[in-house]
Amino acid sequence: MDILTLFVVVPVLTVFALIFTKDLKQSRVVALIGMAVQLAMSINLVFAYLKERAVNDSIMLFTKDAMWFETFNIHYSIGVDAISVLMILLTSTVVFAGIFISWKINDLPKEFFISLIILSTGVFGFFISLDMFTMFVFYEIAVIPMYLLIGIWGSGPKEDSAMKLTLMLMGASALLSVGIFGIYFNSGADGGPLTFNILEIAQVNIPLEAQKLFFPLVFVGFAVLGALFPFHTWSPSGHASAPTAVSMLHAGVLMKLGGYGVFRIAMYLLPEGALHWNDFFLVLAAIGVVYGGMGAIMQKDLKYINAYASVSHLGLVLFALLMINKVSWTGAIIQSLSHGLLTALFFALIGMVYGRTHTRDIAKLGGLMKILPFIGAVYVITGLAYLGLPGFSGFVAEMNIFVGAFQHDDTFRRVLTVLVVSSIVVTAVYILRMIGKIMMGPLEYPKGVEMPTAAWYEKVGLAILMIPVVMIGVMPFGVTEMIKESIQPFLERLL
């Protein structure tokens, strides 16, 4: 078994093992073991990647190819570059932390962990695929368990939110599949066979008209998942209703599939289309950044605040990707990682607060730092990291994006950049408003609830997420160098 396929096999085996578990205790241990293996493999993959990269300078490493469906030339084709490696690491970190956060899930624990792990299987598969069709299949695997996870284990108007989320993502998938088939049927433009393989298609000159036609489809198809304005509305309600671990995984990882797909498929395979549509989507992304922030200011539900904040921060990812230069792309990738970790942290913390107080209304909470010192401290740190404090990953990401975006000469991009930079103030406003209300000020929480301080598993879960945030923030050089090397071939297509 090669090093990458294991990333799909291990979760599947974990799921099989979970089927035979009896109660919460057993299932969480099994899930934990499975995901611990996964995390260990991810860390190992980083080192293996670095080692291999030193001697091998092809775009993708550890490639493997097996015919899957001959008629349409669909392959199980896998391989990774630095970006996928980092995304895989992010995913396994978040899933691993998510299991700690769901330590006490009492409702159908076995089924919960099974769905969660199936979802993560899809994500892992997505990140290792080099074949658009396989990628799409994994994408769907990742999206569908979400419906069950929200619909069954959620809170509030869960069925509604689950339906909205699933339908909007399915709608996006429909666009996406049209786009992918569009690329597929144009992949023979230079006389070769039709293919789904990304690397092969990149060698083909797809006709300009086809590029112009299919780019928006593929872009929007992926960007809906990345909460592009105005297709972001599934995210607030979906996150608000989802159980904690699912919010973490969804905002932390699943939404990253959007940016990743845009980067890997839309912009790489349809470069001229990307340039043609660049201005339009750039404006949408920039609006999304400010708009998400403004939306977050007015929210009263903690999860809604975070969801709108995600709209803002992921808008930044798309914005950076559309800025098309090395620095901003590096920023986009780091922002994906950083936002993944930070938003997972936030959702975990909100889940802890909610689990104790049974409310997420900021008007009903106040001064919790006094009785929940650990959670309060981590909350404040996370908030500060979220608003781009140096020393945490968010700063590195944002500065890369801003400096990169500013490298363009034209006024249009400059103005948009200024607009987007101004979001740092907006972010500060809503983050401080939230922290100031719920963690500081006079103590206030619903009567009659127990407020135990953080349990060990909660602390571990938070620590797992916090460590990489600080690592990227303090020592960004390793990560940025890794990413820069890998985006070079992708960037060259667009210049």
């Binding site: 909007m168 403004m294 140096p390 400096v403 950049t417 930079v421 963690m439 000020g441």
Partner: protein, 638 residues
């Protein structure tokens, strides 16, 4: 010379922060106070050692050299990269001395002041974080590193202002401070982006090299008649103005007094708030040479206006910390003014030297004033000067040191403030008469409000106290005594030998004429305050009545806060954010839901077609067949 050990000045407070922060539950308060003070003591000694080394051996050919130790932290492009490191030159060494002195004194003082507080260890951890960030800011080798530490300083300020986090006013003050400075930092960041794009570097040495390409050749692009660099500098100055509480970004500073008093002394009097001055001084050559110092003019006028504005407000405030806060703002305006009127070479760079000189002396006496005020507050648990009176009887040490500081800030001859203020006025006199007059007037006002404060606290009629006020413990008085010593003798340092715009020592003389003018004005202020407030009289009330609505305006700080509240609450929140939220809910989301609902409705409508009646099916079938037949025949016969 090797100054690479200065990096430890940076790392010790960081280590303190980490140790105390992670161990805040486990380390006993008494120990954490000692750990903090000890650490800062080492940094203090190292800083003085550095200063000694640098100013004795740092010259080559009579020019102070710059020493840089750095490594690349993030590289954006080949040219643009953020370095982390330390830069040793006269002003950074001077700032090291200032920051380490004040920080060390505040650490010592806090051991007494914070005794018995819940978050004692947390407090020292935050102080460590602040000291680390401030040292980092001072030692920054490039503008981006400065920005990074600039942000960290802002955050430590946020954490320390909000130290009493259960107090709503403290929380909102902390938020206000952070958001206002963040807004200013937005300007700073945009300035950095602009500057770095056109010059291709972040590095201070490259940017500031007076013989370098950036200054001699400039940048081709211009916007509205000014070169892009000037625009960038003005944006950067917005950042500086935000941190240094210049008008109109000063609104956070008075509120920031909600923090514990040692914090106000450290952050909001001596160190962080002068970061803006330091920033302009750091980039002085660029400010001076681009567009003939247009940006620098702006600095001068903003500084002059702020100093006047704040001095007027300070006259009417009753909260002793707020008086000191406005005084700080006024004095920083002074420093800005001095920088703004300065020129570059030799004696013409007097303003630059004066500004740094004043920064130095001001740090000492203003910190002392705050610590003194803290001592008073500690004794009687109130900030309001109307609750105080005749405290000289109970707190002799505090009284004396406070008097020294007040004399110093008022420019009484022989005290430190006298010398530095005189240099500023001399520099202004040579270059800009208007600013000189403002400066002199502000000097008078300063003397007046300082002694108003002094007489109200230590003289006047005795108020009834709940319990007899007592002198603060030695842990608090010793740092004050040290600072009092500095407040007197710091003025005798020959600053011009060490710090000058072009790095070459020059001779600065006391201008007797100007000194007499300034002193006279200062004395008038003191005498007036003496008449008004020494004994309880109704003169002050008469003055208030005479000024009428102007007094009200002043007392309400010219309603700047209200304007800000109006803009944020009524315009940004109510007119922008709320409609956006509404739009999101009722337009964007409603569209998406509408698509879903209309699908459901359509299917409700058309599900009757699938009626389950075979007759209907047959009818559709035949109907369809007929239609197809028509089409086929139509095509066929065509």
């Amino acid at each position: 010379m090797d100054f690479s050990y200065t990096v430890y000045i940076l790392l010790i407070p960081l280590a303190l922060f980490l140790i105390l922060g992670f161990g805040s539950k486990k380390i006993k308060p008494a120990i954490s106070g000692w750990i903090g003070s000890l650490g800062l003591g080492i940094a203090f000694i190292l800083s003085y050692y550095t200063a000694f080394q640098y100013f004795t051996h740092g010259k080559v050919n009579d020019v102070y050299q710059t020493f840089v130790y750095k490594y690349t932290w993030i590289s954006f492009t080949d040219k643009l990269h953020i370095d982390m490191g330390v830069l040793i030159d006269p002003i950074s060494v001077m700032m090291l001395v200032v920051v380490s002195t004040i920080s060390f004194m505040v650490h010592l003082y806090s051991r007494g002041y914070m005794k018995g507080d819940d978050g004692y260890t947390r407090f020292f951890a935050f102080l460590g974080l602040f000291s680390f960030s401030m040292f980092g800011l001072v030692l920054a080798t490039n503008i981006f590193q400065m920005y990074i530490f600039w942000e960290l300083v802002g955050v430590s300020s946020f954490l320390l202002i909000g130290y009493y986090y259960t107090k709503p006013s403290a929380v909102s003050a902390a938020k206000k401070a952070f958001i206002v400075t963040r807004f200013a930092d937005l300007g700073f960041l945009l300035g950095i982006l602009l500057l770095s794009y056109f010059t291709g570097t972040f590095d201070f040495q490259v940017l500031n090299d007076p013989e370098g390409a950036i200054i001699t050749q400039g940048v081709a692009q211009s916007f509205m008649g000014l070169s892009v660099i000037t625009w960038a500098l003005m944006m950067i100055f917005i950042g500086g103005a935000g941190k240094s509480a210049m008008f109109p970004l000063h609104i956070w500073l008075p509120d920031a007094m909600e923090g514990p008093t040692p914090v106000s002394a450290l952050i909001h009097a001596a160190t962080m708030v002068v970061a803006g001055v330091y920033l302009v001084a750091r980039m002085f050559p660029l400010f001076y040479f681009s567009d003939d110092g247009f940006a620098l003019q702006l600095v001068a006028y903003v500084g002059g206006f702020s100093s006047l504005f704040a001095a007027i407000i300070a006259l009417t405030q009753y909260d002793i910390k707020r008086v000191l806060a406005f005084s700080t703002m006024s004095q920083i305006g002074y420093m800005m003014l001095a920088l703004g009127v300065s020129k570059y070479e030799g004696h013409e760079g007097l303003g630059y030297m004066a500004s740094m000189f004043h920064l130095f002396t001001h740090a000492m006496f203003k910190a002392l004033l705050f610590l003194g005020a803290g001592s008073v507050i500690h004794a009687i648990h109130s900030n309001d000067m109307r609750d105080m009176g005749n405290l000289k009887k109970y707190m002799p040490v505090t009284h004396v040191v406070f008097l020294i500081a007040a004399l110093s800030i008022s420019g009484f001859p022989g005290f430190a403030g006298f010398f530095s203020k005189d240099e500023i006025l001399a520099a202004a006199f040579e270059n800009n008469m208007l600013l000189y007059i403002i400066g002199v007037f502000v000097a008078g006002l300063t003397a007046f409000y300082m002694f108003r404060l002094y007489f109200n606290i230590f003289w006047g009629k005795e108020t009834k106290y709940d319990h007899t006020p007592h002198e603060s413990p030695a842990s608090m008085t010793i740092p004050m005594i040290f600072l009092a010593f500095m407040s007197i003798f710091a003025g005798y340092i020959h600053f011009s030998e060490y710090i000058s715009a072009d790095r070459m020592p020059f001779e600065a003389h006391l201008d007797i004429t100007l000194a007499i003018v300034a002193t006279t004005v200062g004395l008038i202020g003191i005498v007036l305050a003496y008449i008004f407030y020494k004994k309880p009289t109704n003169l002050a009330d008469k003055m208030v009545a005479a000024f009428g609505s102007f007094y009200q305006w002043t007392y309400r700080k010219f309603y700047i806060d209200e304007i800000y509240m109006f803009v944020t609450k009524k315009i940004i929140f109510a007119r922008m954010a709320a409609p956006m939220a509404w739009f999101d809910k009722n337009v964007v989301d409603a569209t998406m839901i509408g698509i879903g609902n209309s699908t459901v409705k359509t299917s409700e409508k058309i599900k009757g077609i699938q009626s389950g009646k075979f007759q209907d099916y047959a009818m559709s079938f035949i109907g369809g067949a007929v239609v197809i037949a028509i089409i086929v025949f139509y095509i066929w016969t065509k």
